[in-house]
């Protein structure tokens, strides 16, 4: 019985293989290009370019959540997406996006070799070998073109000329410890969000919340405005083995309520994240960022040991994103109350405010000084900071020009001239850490065919599009690895704009072109 079935299937496949290409000669490539509202100009431009080649593309605009749900269900064909990376490493970029079955793998790309290489990259101990593995991944990704590879952008912010010694960070945080004002001692920051999520450093996942909290809380380590990790609350770090890290907690650090910071606070901080239901009966969504961290132990009053299940080269980068919380205070008032009135060891203490309107912080005079590698060391020069939620870009810009706020984040490209023209304001930019591209559903036709995917990569004139839409603040990427991240291959070329080659490939794949 089974043999007959097999024979039937084989016969059918042969028939289809013979007949299908014959019938396919006059097919036109046609697909839907999905996007969110804010990337519509780009989508329309891409679609128009493709139409010039005879490819029928229709742009559909979706609300973000609906779109992602439908993408994950595998229903859509091509979609503009983006993914942020905080670790300057493919661990939180290439890994979730290209591993078979990865939670961020919206292209359903599956390649066992790439999977193995990524594992080596994420868990390897020899940096040279890790780099090689990542180089190989980029090569394969380029060849197989699971996406129409795109670009990354400059983060563009605006600041009043009165603000001194502030540079935006690549990880999007606005660190105000070292900032001064030429006049007055209060800085107001206009944030591009409706509300931050919480005041509890264990219970958020977005960068805006981290921006505010990072001024109230300090971590064991922190970052420069680029990607270098430096010590902060920790005074020394040792790595006795690939899976063990030991930190010495700095002396003389106090929380805003006067409690001294000891190893117990560090252990408490990580325990509540590692444990299920560890935060007042709820689980922390930050567990995955700690990778294979198994447990945190108190060695003595001033020493903490982190034990991992396996080597995790980006562990230090990860630790930057975890802030130390006061154990005694939380155990006294409870997690809920702590999330309403936070107490940390950072340069500014919480005074008043709500997560959805404005948050007022004032200088903590007993601040231990901050990271020795990030001068000036000492209490903050500013007497206070206010974070205002201003999700409307035009409002933010108007407020900056009016002097109501002094720093605004996420300046829209079209409003850049407004800031540049005004003598009281100035532009501040830094390299962004979000990858933008067009993901193709590799499991659904027409994108099951590698030739089609490659053709599309040749067919999009990124240079013109990026110039018109982003006015020079976006840079092409060869694959989905960021130049700021570990393992980026600067010699990997991106697909050039070559409509001729695109046409050839499409014809080879059996589509009619113009």
């Amino acid at each position: 019985m089974r043999r007959h079935l097999l024979a039937g299937v084989a016969l059918l496949s042969v028939a289809l293989a013979v007949l299908a290409p014959a019938g396919a000669q006059e097919r036109t490539l046609s697909f839907a290009l999905d996007t969110e509202a804010f990337r519509r100009p780009e989508a329309e431009a891409i679609a128009e370019g493709l139409r010039g080649l005879g490819v029928q593309t229709e742009v559909r605009v979706w609300e973000r959540t609906s779109l992602i749900a439908r993408i994950q269900a595998g229903e859509r064909q091509a979609y503009l997406t983006d993914w942020g990376s905080a670790f300057f490493d493919p661990f939180d970029l290439a890994e979730p996006k290209f591993t078979t079955g990865g939670r961020g793998n919206y292209s359903f790309y599956s390649n066992r070799e790439v999977d193995a290489l990524l594992v080596e990259g994420v868990t390897g101990t020899d940096p040279a070998r890790r780099r090689e593995a990542y180089f190989k991944v980029q090569e394969i990704l380029f060849r197989e073109a699971p996406w129409i590879f795109g670009y990354f952008r400059q983060d563009v912010h605006g600041a009043s000329t009165l603000v001194e010694n502030w540079e935006p960070s690549m990880d999007s945080r606005i660190n105000l410890h070292d900032v001064r004002m030429a006049r007055g001692g209060l800085v107001v920051v206009g944030m591009n969000t409706n509300a931050i999520v919480t005041f509890d450093p264990a219970m958020f996942r977005d960068r805006k919340t981290e921006t505010v909290l990072r001024n109230i809380f300090d971590g064991l380590v922190t970052r420069t405005t680029r990607d270098r990790v430096v010590l902060e609350l920790a005074s020394a770090m040792r790595q006795p083995s690939p899976t063990v890290y030991e930190f010495t907690v700095r002396e003389g650090v106090t929380f805003h309520n006067g409690d001294s910071l000891t190893a117990d606070d560090v252990v408490f901080t990580f325990d509540r994240i590692l444990r299920e239901r560890g935060v007042g009966g709820e689980s922390s969504p930050r567990r995955a960022l700690l990778g294979p961290l198994q447990r945190v132990e108190r060695v003595d009053d001033r020493t903490v040991r982190f034990v991992l299940e396996r080597p995790f080269p980006v562990f230090l980068q990860a630790l930057v994103h975890f802030q130390i919380v006061p154990r005694r205070y939380i155990q006294t008032v409870g997690d809920r109350a702590f999330a309403e009135r936070p107490v940390g060891a950072g340069p500014f203490r919480y005074v008043t405010g709500r997560v959805d309107s404005q948050i007022v912080l004032e200088r903590y005079d007993q601040y231990y000084g901050g990271a020795p590698d990030l001068p000036p060391v000492g209490p903050a020069p500013l007497r206070g900071v206010v974070f205002r939620m201003m999700p409307e870009p035009a409002t933010r810009v108007a407020a900056l020009k009016a002097g109501e706020v002094h720093i605004i984040e996420d300046l829209p490209v079209d409003l850049i001239p407004e800031i540049e023209r005004d003598p009281r304001t100035t532009l501040k930019t830094t390299q962004g850490t979000r990858v933008y591209g067009v993901e193709l559903n590799n499991r659904r036709p027409p994108f099951t065919d590698g030739k089609v995917r490659q053709a599309l990569n040749y067919a999009v004139n990124w240079e013109t599009i990026l110039r018109s839409v982003y006015r020079g603040t976006a840079t092409r990427l060869s694959t989905a690895f960021l130049p700021s991240g570990f393992g980026y291959n600067p010699r990997q070329q991106a697909y050039p704009y070559d409509p001729g080659r695109a046409r050839t490939l499409l014809r080879e794949a059996g589509y009619a072109v113009r």
């Binding site: 992602i68 995955a288 960022l289 809920r336 109501e404």
Partner: protein, 336 residues
């Protein structure tokens, strides 16, 4: 048996509330998108363990019927669940956001009444004059302008170009107001913080005007037509009377009568006002319930949407109930 009618009317509200709860529960779960995914965001590393933990926390791993029962039972107790995004009790979040919305709605109503009642009266008295035509024309304009557009234009003209008003928010950063009731104007009076009062009024002005524009128009027209009605009757009976004194008496009497349908309209519109100010809150960055709900829908924060819709429904049902009760008492024929 008026009491029986009243009782029946009150009891009728219960199945409505239950119905609303069920409908919003079902609709939210029909929306594509996984709340857990959204909480974790489009960034960084995500593990299956995190997903499972959160799903358990949110009770999304339980059967749907159990989730519904949990929600309904909680709602009856006054516990509206915990927000997925902010991990706070929904009830607390709504209570925190409500004063901003209520303050805006009340201010809008006040603005509308202060402008519309005199305009309506004057239009009725000087019917068919240029004043009347201008006023009614303006009223028409008022109900024809979409709030989001009017808001944007108001910001461009009054906040950006002229600089008379701030561009967004409820109060400036440099003003420290001690929160007592949550209402900025009330609190500033209670704590004698006059700077805060002034600043609060400045921030309230534009959103209240925009939100009140539609109501202003409706009230003006209702006032005008009811005044005309009443005036026509009164005028006939007290026609040849004492001149100016008579006119004033007629006006005052007419005004009182004409206000009844106006109050009705305002009462019914209050429910609409509370529900429809989402757009104004979004445009002006007003931290109220409207903005909270719109955000929560987009981020699939089921508990917040469920709780907020229940609150809106309760407000609407209550407003309706009060109006109907008034009519039951005023007119026995209405007890149907």
């Amino acid at each position: 048996m008026r009491a029986l009618v009243v009782l029946r009317r009150v009891l009728n509200t219960i199945p409505i509330m239950v119905g609303v709860a069920v409908v919003v529960f079902v609709v939210m779960r029909m929306l594509p998108g996984d709340p857990v995914d959204i909480v974790l965001g489009q960034t960084g590393a995500i593990s299956q363990q995190d997903l499972d933990r959160l799903r358990r926390d949110f009770h999304l791993d339980r059967p749907v019927t159990e989730q519904l029962y949990r929600f309904l039972a909680g709602a009856a107790r006054g516990d509206l669940g915990t927000s997925f995004a902010r991990r706070r009790p929904v009830f607390a979040m709504l209570v925190e956001a409500l004063p901003a919305t209520v303050e805006l709605a009340v201010a809008a109503t006040a603005v509308a009444l202060v402008v519309a009642v005199p305009v309506g009266v004057l239009s009725a008295v000087y019917q068919r004059s240029w004043l009347d035509r201008l006023a009614m024309g303006g009223a028409f304009l008022g109900i024809s302008m979409p709030a989001f557009w009017l808001g944007i234009v108001a910001i461009i003209v009054f906040a950006v170009r002229l600089g008379w008003f701030p561009t967004s928010g409820r109060i400036g950063f440099e003003v420290f107001l001690q929160p007592v009731t949550g209402f900025v104007l009330l609190d500033s009076v209670l704590t004698r913080n006059w700077a805060a009062l002034w600043d609060g009024l400045r921030h309230l002005a534009l959103p209240a005007a925009v939100l009140g524009a539609g109501l202003m128009a409706v009230v003006a027209r209702v006032m005008r037509s009811s005044m005309i009605e009443v005036l026509r009757e009164q005028f006939v009976t007290t026609a040849r009377s004492k001149g100016l004194a008579g006119r004033v008496v007629v006006l005052r009497h007419a005004l009182r009568n004409a206000l009844i349908p106006t109050v009705t309209v305002v009462g019914l519109q209050l429910g609409v006002l509370l529900g429809g100010n989402m757009i104004v809150e979004t445009v002006f960055g007003w931290p109220g319930m409207g903005r909270l709900v719109v955000d929560a829908i987009f981020s699939r924060d089921y508990p917040v949407v469920q709780g907020a819709v229940m609150l809106y429904a309760a407000t609407f049902v209550l407003a309706n109930l009060l109006v109907d009760l008034c009519y039951i008492y005023l007119d026995p024929r209405m007890a149907l």
